[in-house]
Amino acid sequence: MLTSLRDENRAAIGALPAPIRLLREVFAVAVRRCFTDRDPREITEYVRELLIRRRLPFDGGHAREAEALIRTALGELELAAGIPDDRRIAIMIVVVGDLARAEATGSDVTLFEGLVEHAERRVARFDPQPNGRPWRRKRPR
């Protein structure tokens, strides 16, 4: 995860469900900490500036998809329907890196480590255990 965020390359994450689940949580943490109390129209402006900085097309489908994914993390669940997984992952990696670097100072490693640890704790708290919920397990005799 840290390598993917630092290098903005999804290769290190691969296609396994657990790392992708963790990336979704990292994305949700980064987006919520930056945008929760802001007017959603500021997200349109943020995405435009991000794409311009990256010299990417800022007036088309990429911009709409990035805004939709960010607003989905803030609760508008249906907005991102139909965006392919590869595009979602690419957008999440770029946005997480950008938001983390904009919001704090310090080396990339420190920033991303803190963010990923936060997300890991949330995943551990809210995702069901693979072998059933603790209160449903049989007690050992």
Binding site: P57, G60, R64, A68, E78, L79
Partner: protein, 140 residues
Amino acid sequence: MMATHRADAPGGRHPATPGGRYLRATAINDRADEPHGDAVRDVCSRAFASVVQLRFRPDTPLLAIACSVRAAAHRHPALAVRVREAEMLIREALGEQVPTGGITPDQAVAVHVLLFASLVDELALTDDELDELIADAEAV
């Protein structure tokens, strides 16, 4: 606040173009063959902008706009409304600078017609008011 019914509703003006008649038929849930051409697109686009400006203000919360788009999509599940594009077209009609690149003319006119019908329903316009709205879009 809009009166429940306008006493001075003028009446008498009716859609006079293929695009206008198609918009009216869609809004009152009547059958009509879909016309084509630039003139049709222009009428649909202007009527869409008018109804959007009646329904929303430039500072309307995005959640309210997204809610209307979602309602239109749920009313017509078979038409697979493109919700991201629809929201951007509404916001563009309200004067916002938003990413609308890559939306084809056919996709745009589909959104214009469907959202026009849905927003007319949300506003509970009378038939006379609907005709006025369309006739104004045709007259430009």
